[in-house]
């Protein structure tokens, strides 16, 4: 943590960046912080409560963040993958950002705890299991000590997806209809997603109205499935959409399922190497296309 604070302080003092975006400890637990004064670097923390994917603050639509000046962003491995996604899609230029990587051994499911708890199968965020990027490479600084692998959760996301897949179609339909009936169309999932950066989201288009705006099950199904499809091959599994959903829809299951399909069909897994092209935005002559009749 001291290392992080030192690096942050230096970057601010020598003017390399104008703001450091990291995590701080507040009344209700860990939360994002924007440090512009070198003295504020002491607020920065990194512990198992630092769940937030701060890359969402790099969204080009966030004028109020951009106006703070050049950003130094603290990133875990999963977060770095999101940065790579933005670079791949030319939403960001590498020189415009300083990335401060932290070695990570996994995070908790929630940030709002008075103290950081050590990880166990019961409290670890299921998405951390099997993480392939605990020492992010797409960074300008890499801090912290080497961390052990995150513990295996009681049930992994893949196991939960498999359990759903194992059910009959009617049961799966009933499950998702019930889940999407809860949706109130707050768009928290979209707002917090680091890769939902469209200047004008498809749901806001009214000519024609592709997706109904009302939060009835028909409109909700339309919205949630469209968003999932628009993230296929791009989602980095940060789990923020699910964490932010105020009504508890298990969105990570949908995203993981699509990730599996993309992996099978295009041999692609999301990484933090921006040079590796993603299936969306890259055409290969040997791309499977048996669905074109």
């Amino acid at each position: 943590m001291n290392e992080l604070r030192e690096v942050a302080r230096t970057l601010l003092t020598d003017g390399t960046v104008r703001v450091i975006i990291g995590w701080e400890d507040a009344r209700r637990g860990a939360r994002p912080v924007f440090v512009t004064d070198p003295a504020g670097a002491d607020k920065l923390i990194f512990d198992t409560r630092c769940v937030h994917n701060l890359v969402t603050y790099l969204n080009p639509r966030r004028d109020n963040v951009a106006e703070l000046g050049k950003i130094g962003l603290v990133v875990k491995g999963c977060d770095a993958k999101a940065v790579a996604g933005l670079l791949r899609e030319a939403q960001l230029t590498r020189d415009d950002i300083v990335l401060i990587g932290v070695r990570c051994g996994g995070v908790l499911e929630e940030a709002e705890l008075p103290e950081a708890a050590p990880l166990s199968p019961e409290n670890v965020a299921p998405r951390c299991y099997g993480c392939d990027n605990r020492e992010p490479e797409l960074v300008d600084h890499l801090l912290g000590e080497s961390q052990p692998e995150p513990p295996r959760p009681v049930m992994t996301i893949d196991e939960r997806v498999a359990a759903l897949d194992g059910q009959a179609l009617e049961e799966r339909w009933a499950f998702w209809t019930e889940q999407f009936s809860k949706c109130v169309r707050c768009y928290a999932c979209r707002q917090v997603c680091p890769l939902c950066v469209c200047e004008r989201c498809v749901v806001e288009k009214s000519r024609p109205q592709w997706i109904e705006a009302s939060p009835h099950p028909r409109g909700n199904l339309s919205w949630n499935i469209t968003r999932a499809l628009h993230l296929a091959g791009r989602c980095v599994d940060c789990g923020e959409c699910e964490r932010f959903c105020p009504v508890g829809i298990p969105l990570s299951l949908v995203n993981r399922k699509l990730q599996q399909i993309v992996g099978e069909r295009y041999g692609y897994t999301v990484s933090d190497d921006p040079e590796t092209p993603a299936p969306i935005g890259d055409y290969r002559l040997d791309d499977k296309q048996e669905f074109i009749k």
Binding site: D63, M155, R160, E178, G248, P250
Partner: protein, 392 residues
Amino acid sequence: MTNAAPTRETYFISDDDLRALTAELLGAGTEVIAPVAVDVCASPSAIASSACLRPGVAPVDIEYRALADAAELDLSRGLPVLSLKQYFLPEHEALCSWRQHGTEVEIEAVPTEFAPRVVLAAKPCDSAALAVVDKVMNWDYQDELWNGRREATTIVNLACPVVDESCFCTAVGTAPDDAKGADALLTPVEGGYLMEATTDKGRALVEAHGARFTAETGASGAEQRGRQAAEERAAARVRVVANLEIDAESVRDWIDTHFEDPLLAALGVRCNGCGACSSVCPTCHCFDIVDEEEGIGKGTRRRCWDTCQAPTFTLHASGHNPRDSQNPRYRQRINHKFSIYPLKFGEVLCTGCGRCTRVCHAGQDLVEILQAIDIAARRPEPVVVGAEPAGS
């Protein structure tokens, strides 16, 4: 009896009698809305939440639901995830529908009268919110859909022990044992509850189920129960007052005169503009109106929940957006709730339930924000040397 000057007569109702009362209401075909403990894992599939898989932890969400059975009534006094708002201003609601043949259009009206129903064990912050929103819903134009539901509903509050450190109802004009917006108040005592009806509707409920209630006047043990109730309620007030104390009027005036102050202008930097706060908030009522076609020549005009936190809330057809970054949008939220609405209607558009703070995973903390504004409001204005003294 009903024509006598209303007195706040107190009754005792036992735990069993309260459930029996619920069963009576249900048996008569009356809709009863109450907190229900929902086992998150009883969904069709046990993979609904990874929380289901933790040994020894039974994740339970409390939700206001229409009871199917009196046994579902949850009296643990936990905070329901969503407020009562959805029962008075539904997430989506038909305003009218139409059928069109050629150039002829027929409009089908929607009902504005509703079957009588009862809310039991409501959180005082949720009921108080209804009274606050009543003001805008009756500002010159009467919103019959809202009013119709309000008129049809008898609300019985259950005094609240204070949920946690994010509650602050007393800072914004209500209290954990208030009956504002409701028709009666239940306070837990040994063996049951003390019941006070505060409106004619509340009194009518007591009268209709008189066998369940015993009047406390002259009853044995009444003094002891009265003291218990008073202690319980006073202790709750002390707890919530400790969470936040502000001078709501000076906060209101400070916001009104410090629109450009950096304290207000930079509150939104952490905010994602997701509007989760608006959806869980009992007083947020902004809505959108959309036409939805449901076949050739027919459709429904609906209103649905909307939020000033959404980027397109104020987007004009010309493309101009007066609030085009999260900072002015977040400022609007604070401004509307704590200054504009109170100046217009005399009520803070917030009842301190704390849901917004709990649901915001970006760390926006209304207790912290109000505290900061309160401090700024109490700070004496800087004196400019050489300026004319006021009034000269």
